[in-house]
């Protein structure tokens, strides 16, 4: 049995320890915001936070998060009816098109902004590698800069 904390709640998973965290989240815990895009760590649609750091859950075995803190898009905002600054910025810039990649983009950006609170365009180029098939990159870039400002003004 694998025990971990999922969006601040203690949970346990009994089946195959080699199952990717992605499928455990989606089908066992019914948290479907985390998406399947490639299954090989290429696209980032499945990005979650493990102990606050972005991780691609399709290539993370559930056994690897034993005792860790896992956060998904559903648990990113501080409270149910509130939004994380990255989510707010995404709304202000109307980033999503089909929207399928966006939970992963937001999780990646939220972690990135912890490490680069005032990022340059170059920082974004080097550290944001999530794929968006709809090509929302222009707005993702603007929204990341905007989110950085929101976070700075909050603290």
């Amino acid at each position: 049995m694998i025990s971990f904390r999922l969006n601040k709640v203690s949970v346990a998973f009994e089946a195959e320890p080699g199952t990717p965290l992605l499928w455990v989240l989606r089908e066992h815990f019914d948290l479907k915001g985390t998406k399947f895009g490639c299954g090989i760590g290429q696209c980032g649609a499945c990005t979650v936070h493990v102990n606050g750091g972005a991780q691609r859950s399709c290539v993370t075995q559930v056994a690897a998060v034993e005792g860790q803190n896992v956060t998904t898009i559903e648990g990113l905002a501080p409270a149910d009816d509130s939004l994380h600054p990255v989510q707010q910025a995404w709304l202000s810039h109307d980033v999503p098109q089909c929207g399928y990649c966006q939970a992963g983009q937001i999780m990646a950006a939220a972690d990135f902004l912890k490490r680069f609170p005032r990022p340059s365009d170059q920082d974004i180029d080097q550290h944001i590698s999530n794929v968006c098939r709809c090509g929302t990159y222009v707005r993702i870039r603007k929204a990341i800069h905007h989110a950085a400002q929101l976070i700075a003004s909050e603290s």
Partner: protein
């Protein structure tokens, strides 16, 4: 709210549906569609719905049904905007619900219940432009009538302000929420309601954010892959890795012992040459989780039989195209006398261009839920063509179409891939055989290796110029793999129609124009890929004009403007017609050229490229600035894109589509190609099918809308075709290297090393 409930169809004003072929651009538009049910005896004043599309709750919140699939193009926001405009309500009070497929059986065949449904060819908005405004206007008329009866005054004395019917300019008023119960009981007026003048629009034409985005950013939006039904079982299929290969035998003993595995089933694919109901022959695994199904699928031992395409390869494909171009093909357009004009010409320019096969790769891999019961079926599908889904399930199961209930989900990208419902047919086959409610899941590898690929082709372009440098003869000879290959009832002599749009520019601007087609029968399935043949033809035509300009010492912008000529409607019989106005392209070209400061001299290694194209009724142009280093490193410095889509219903999403289309065009031109060796697709996932990432997209990126008139065109595909040639023209301006083969990949670096 259940809109699919057993409401009676009131008036028989429907187009008989079912004629449209899945995957084609024929969407079966409603010529005339009933907007609402007639009130039935069972209805009471508790009822809060007006027709099929509108529900008003006690607090005045209005839920509007969206009848089209949302694939990221923004119809779920734009269509309700049309209703809200005419209904006269505040946009912030609008909620949107997705309507299922509505088809009804009549004596004459099937009819649409909620108007024609299906999105392709950028028609989602235009084909519903009149219809959805009429939905709003008729509901408003009903509400006014209800108020007039309540006040006992002539309806002519009533008007509305957002959310209220007012009497004589505001003497008294009643809210829609108060009126909806009695309005719901009224007969709809026979004649259609008057529509607003464009100058009175409050909602149409104002930028609105996508109605779903709060759900998207919080992870609550439900896509096909997130859907489920009671008792669901999960399935994955091992498909023949070789084109047209078949299962010879398989061993499932080990697999059946794997945890979670329930059943292993044979899936019959089409025979070589047959139409693709599904893409390949294979073996399916049914399990109690998606992961278990995928794992077990990979563990299956299957022996595949010989295939007639076992030696197909990209190399042989291109060789065959080159060989064919040496001969004579099918002349599909012959204006004037091209041979005479060429022999009299002062200068000749001849070049060949090569455009590869590409895959759609929507980010949500194909998936579908189907539960086949005894005499009915339930389908939940991310699809662009729900009526095709219904036909697919009917064909596979024999269940009558009126007993197949098709729900549409939000779709994680379409790009033309989900015009085909092959994955729906597969899920239906598995559910039928197993008797279980099935959720079929494709992996990314399944998706890249099994697709209706965008056709590849080799274009030979030839122009003749007179002594003044005017183009007097133009010929395009194309050897390609037609998209119409293996379509049912498709004669060979019509295969070219999917690849050459004869009315495209520069026809009617040059006196002598010829198009010639050669068909290559490689075994790869092909289909519609966002802006289908426009992507290849815009690249070829816009590159070639650039080359003519350079080869004859003319300015590329000036030559383009001269060829486009004056603003006037030209006859255009292909999709997007009936007319094409080259003046609208000139205006866009001039605009983007000015914005990017086209005339300014650039430093060595930098340059600007331009291109413009007319796509399915909409116009777009690109100006792109790049730099190419000594070692061949390409940097896109700046992109200016502009679109003329007539009236932009939601400018916010028009810009989004222009940005996304541009990036799609550039991403594909930079690095995407599907190749075949030994009858097998060689790419499998994003490591070898590398979609563009943010690092390649310049921060300096502008998207502009140039308004034209009061009629909207579609916008989903217009942003792509001119992006790639603007990029390769810029590369030439910066480096002197002409890209004639896509994708660009490392051609620049290779040329430097050589």
């Amino acid at each position: 709210m259940s809109r699919a409930s057993n409401t009676q169809i009131g008036r028989r004003q429907f187009l008989v549906a079912g004629a449209g072929v899945s995957g084609s651009l024929v969407l079966g538009l409603p010529f005339a569609v009933s907007l609402a049910a007639e009130p039935s005896a069972a209805q009471t004043s508790q009822q809060r719905t007006l027709g099929f599309f509108i529900e008003i709750d006690r607090t005045g919140l209005v839920t509007i049904g969206s009848n089209q699939p949302e694939i990221g193009q923004g119809v779920r926001t734009a269509l309700p905007m049309l209703v809200a405009e005419e209904l006269d309500i505040e946009w912030q009070n609008v909620r949107v619900t997705q309507m299922p497929l509505g088809i009804v059986k009549t004596a004459d065949g099937f009819t649409w219940k909620y108007g024609g449904q299906g999105v392709g060819g950028s028609t989602g908005l235009t084909s519903n432009w009149e219809f959805m405004r009429q939905v709003g206007a008729q509901a408003r008329a009903q509400l006014m009538l209800a108020a007039a009866q309540r006040w006992n005054v002539p309806v002519a004395q009533c008007g509305t302000r957002p959310g209220y019917v007012v009497h004589q300019g505001g003497q008294r008023e009643l809210s829609y929420a108060e009126l909806v119960g009695s309005a719901a009981l009224l007969q709809l007026p026979e004649q259609s309601a008057p529509l607003k003048a464009a100058t009175d629009y409050r909602i149409i034409g104002k930028p609105r954010h996508s109605i779903d985005n709060r759900d998207v950013v919080t992870g609550k939006a439900v896509y096909g892959i997130d859907s489920t039904i009671p008792g669901v079982h999960y399935a994955a299929i091992a498909r023949s890795p070789i084109l047209n290969g078949r299962v010879k035998s398989f061993d499932d003993k080990q697999v059946l012992k794997m945890p979670g595995v329930v059943q292993v089933l044979r899936i019959e694919g089409p025979k070589p040459g047959e139409w693709y109901r599904i893409l390949a022959d294979g073996v399916a695994v049914v399990a109690n989780s998606t992961w278990a199904a995928l794992q077990a699928r990979d563990a299956l031992r299957i022996e595949w039989s010989e295939s007639p395409n076992a030696s197909d390869s990209s190399e042989a494909f291109w060789q065959e195209n080159r060989r064919m171009l040496k001969g004579k093909g099918q002349v599909v357009l012959d204006d004037g006398d091209v041979d005479a004009a060429l022999s009299n010409a002062e200068t000749h320019v001849v070049h060949q261009y090569q455009v590869p096969f590409v895959s759609h790769a929507p980010l949500e891999p194909q998936n579908c839920i189907v539960h086949v019961k005894e005499n009915s079926a339930h389908v939940i599908a991310p699809t662009q063509m729900p009526s095709g889904a219904s036909r697919a399930v009917a064909a596979v199961t024999g269940i009558a179409r009126e007993n197949i209930f098709v729900e549409m989900t939000k779709v994680g990208g379409g790009f033309g891939r989900r015009l085909s419902n092959d994955y729906v047919a597969e899920a239906a086959m598995i559910s039928k055989q197993s008797g279980l409610p099935i959720k079929l899941q494709w992996s990314r590898e399944d998706d890249i290796r099994n697709d209706f690929y965008r056709p590849a082709g080799l274009h030979e372009m030839r122009a003749g110029l007179d002594a003044q440098g005017r183009v007097v003869a133009w010929s395009q000879r194309l050897a390609s793999a037609s998209k119409y290959f293996r379509r049912p009832n498709m004669p060979d002599e019509d295969l070219w129609k999917a690849e050459l749009y004869i009315d495209d520019f520069p026809r009617r601007r040059i006196e002598n124009v010829r198009m010639e087609y050669f068909h290559n029968r490689i075994g790869l399935p092909r289909g519609s890929w966002r802006a289908p043949a426009h992507t290849a033809n815009a690249f070829v035509v816009q590159s070639f004009i650039d080359e003519i300009a350079h080869d004859t010492g003319q300015d590329p912008l000036q030559l383009r403007l001269e060829l486009l000529g004056k603003a006037e409607p030209l006859e255009y019989s292909n999709h997007g017609g009936p007319t094409f106005n080259p003046g609208r392209l000139s205006k866009l070209l001039t605009f983007v050229a000015e914005k990017i400061d086209y005339g300014r001299a650039r430093k060595k290694g930098s340059g600007v490229g331009l291109a413009a194209h007319f796509t399915f009724g909409g116009y777009a142009a690109h100006a792109i600035e790049v730099s190419v280093s000594q070692s061949g490193e390409l940097q896109i410095e700046r992109i200016v894109a502009a679109i003329d889509c007539g009236l932009a219903v939601n400018p916010q999403s028009v810009k989004a589509q222009l940005e996304g289309g541009t990036i799609d065009g550039i991403s594909t031109a930079l690095g995407l190609e599907i190749t075949v060796k030994d009858g097998q697709v060689q790419q499998s996932n994003f490591h070898d099918y590398p979609l563009m990432r943010i690092e390649q997209v310049p921060a300096r990126f502008e998207a502009h809308i140039l308004p034209y008139d009061d009629m909207p065109t579609g916008v989903g595909e217009m942003g792509i075709p001119s992006a790639a040639p603007a990029l390769t023209n810029a590369i030439f301006a910066a480096s002197g290297q002409r890209i004639r083969t896509l994708p660009i990949k490392d051609q620049l670096k290779k040329a430097r090393r050589a």
